[in-house]
């Protein structure tokens, strides 16, 4: 079992039925993720990368193909792989610490132990002072920290992160990049991180998996060998992002499909936007 990858995706395909017929969101995805690896899934909106994350989480089923974790086929959600959402998805009727305790309560952990665990993880995300705060009192960045603490409290092997920093301002996002890298280095989690931001993918990932769109397919894979911790404004990150963009561009121009070219332009606009910052 030592050499068995943490996650194995084999021919994962997802089609949705729509009024205009079947729509293929994901087309036979094959992917192996090693234990402790940080893998970023990069692609424009609508390329099916969130659907893929949902399937790995067990919240959605593939039409064909399968996902295996530690050799076991994934059929339903499990606390060995916890998902973190772009909207943070905190429970507004619970305060911060009760949110962090939620998964532990579901697991039947006794109250004292639960609270101690929750406090430990709140400290990890620097929110000890906000344990009793209510969700509506928190900023977007704080909400994502709570969501991170809530997921980590369950001690999952795998974190599935669906554009968790997509709605944050650039400064907050940079700080959270640093913290996530530190937490990852401490905890040795396996992380699958979905983003449409090229440089974010490079800063965080050991590997960047680039998706094409309609149908969602793995287009190319980039290994990132830069030393950590990485900074989003470093030359090495910017250079590699240019390289990834160039490859993507060639690819799309060769295929010559308008819709895809449009999506690429959107993708590129985001990178240029980052450069201005």
């Amino acid at each position: 079992m030592k050499h068995c990858p943490k996650l194995e995706l084999r021919g994962v395909t997802k089609t949705f039925q729509s009024k205009s017929g079947a729509l293929t969101a994901l087309d036979s995805i094959d992917l192996d993720v090693r234990a402790g690896e940080f893998v970023c899934l990069l692609g424009p909106s609508g390329c099916g990368k969130s659907t893929l994350l949902n399937i790995i989480a067990g919240l959605d089923q593939p039409t064909t193909g399968q996902v295996r974790m530690d050799g076991q086929v994934v059929r339903q959600p499990g606390t060995d792989r916890v998902m973190i959402f772009q909207s943070a998805a905190l429970f507004p009727w619970l305060n911060v610490i009760d949110n962090v305790e939620f998964g532990l309560r579901m697991a039947g952990m006794p109250k004292g132990e639960r609270q101690a665990t929750a406090r430990r993880f709140l400290r990890m995300v620097h929110l000890s002072d906000f344990a009793q705060a209510f969700i509506h009192e928190l900023s977007g960045g704080m909400k994502q920290r709570v969501a991170l603490a809530r997921a980590l409290a369950l001690n999952p092997d795998v974190l599935l992160m669906d554009e968790p920093f997509g709605a944050l301002d650039a400064q907050t996002r940079d700080i959270l990049h640093d913290e996530l890298q530190a937490i990852w280095a401490d905890t040795h989690k396996t992380i699958l991180f979905v983003t449409h931001n090229v440089r974010e993918a490079i800063v965080l990932g050991d590997r960047v998996i680039v998706f094409s769109t309609r149908p969602g397919k793995i287009k190319q894979e980039f290994a990132v060998h830069l030393p950590r911790p990485r900074q989003i404004e470093s030359y090495a990150v910017v250079d590699l992002s240019r390289e990834i963009m160039a490859v993507l561009k060639d690819d799309v121009l060769a295929s010559g499909r308008d819709a895809e070219a449009q999506l690429l332009r959107e993708l590129e606009a985001r990178v240029v936007g980052d450069d201005v910052l």
Partner: protein, 293 residues
């Protein structure tokens, strides 16, 4: 120093400008407003209470004036109404009831009818919102019965149930559908991301429902109860007027109208309003307790 001098210069210049015709007219207008210090966007607490008092006093004065000018036996003065209201607490009316007994009768009906409606409609709404099969099972019947106004059931209720269940039944019908539909809508409106988040954190079936769906839908459920209580209070008055037996505030104002005691009719109306406010307050109190739990 030079800067300060320049500032002073501007000050005097503007004062001079103010004495000219145009601005003077404007400033007189503004000074007239000064005579009414309460005309501000954010009045002080004292001013606010003063304004509320003024509002009620003018209403009563206007009413009194109208009653005297019109001099109709159907429009009593506020003073006569106040006298009738006080008297109603100490004297039995020709039906043999004091106003306390009428209030009690109406309250018992609303509490039973509303309580039964909430007890049935909330679980049914939760089940139909969460389980598609339950919705398909109950939906058609609900849609069939819902358009019938609760008041249309009064003849049936009076002859079939009789006192006191006829009125309880009407309140039940009045409160049942708003609570049911709000609860159902509340469950359907739960953000699916919250359900996904709970599932990925290990929540399953019953606990997913009790610890996520229920608290997320609570706001809508309480809104439904509020509406149900209001509609129930309206319908109980109508039912009592039409002819349920055993007293009640609706019975009181209808009977007083029939013998031409319009001071008592208005007194009854005022008491109905006050009890309505008390019911809303009680509902708000329950709401706070629930949301804290």
């Amino acid at each position: 120093m030079a800067v300060k001098a320049a500032g002073e210069g501007i000050g005097t210049a503007s004062q001079r400008v103010e004495t000219r015709d145009g601005p003077r007219v404007a400033s007189i207008g503004l000074r007239m407003l000064d005579a009414f210090p309460f005309v501000t966007r954010h009045p002080s607490l004292v001013t606010r209470h003063g304004l509320s008092l003024l509002s009620i006093a003018s209403f009563l004065a206007l009413w009194h004036l109208l009653a005297i000018v019109i001099a109709s036996p159907y429009l009593p003065t506020p003073l006569a109404v106040a006298r009738a209201a006080i008297a109603a607490f100490f004297e039995r009316d020709f039906l043999g009831f004091t106003i306390q007994q009428h209030i009690a009768s109406s309250l018992v009906r609303i509490v039973w009818g509303f309580g039964l409606a909430a007890l049935l409609a909330v679980p049914l709404g939760l089940a139909s919102g969460w389980l598609r099969s339950v919705e398909h099972l109950t939906g058609p019947v609900v849609e069939l019965l819902r358009p019938i106004p609760p008041l249309a059931w009064i003849p049936f209720a009076i002859y079939f149930f009789g006192d006191p269940f006829d009125a309880v039944f009407i309140v039940f019908l009045a409160a049942f559908f708003p609570i049911l539909l709000s609860t159902l809508a509340g469950v359907k409106a739960v953000d699916p991301i919250l359900i996904d988040a709970a599932r990925t954190l290990g929540a399953k079936r019953l606990r997913l429902f009790l610890q996520v769906v229920l608290p997320a839908a609570l706001g809508n459920i309480v809104t439904g109860m509020r509406i149900g209580l209001g509609v129930g209070w309206m319908c109980i008055m109508a039912a009592e007027m039409v002819g349920v037996k055993g007293g009640g505030l609706g019975v009181y104002i209808w009977s007083m109208g029939e013998i031409g005691r319009f001071d008592a009719v208005f007194a009854g109306m005022a008491i109905i309003g006050v009890v309505g406010i008390a019911l809303t307050g009680a509902m708000g109190w329950v709401e706070k307790r629930i949301s804290k739990a």
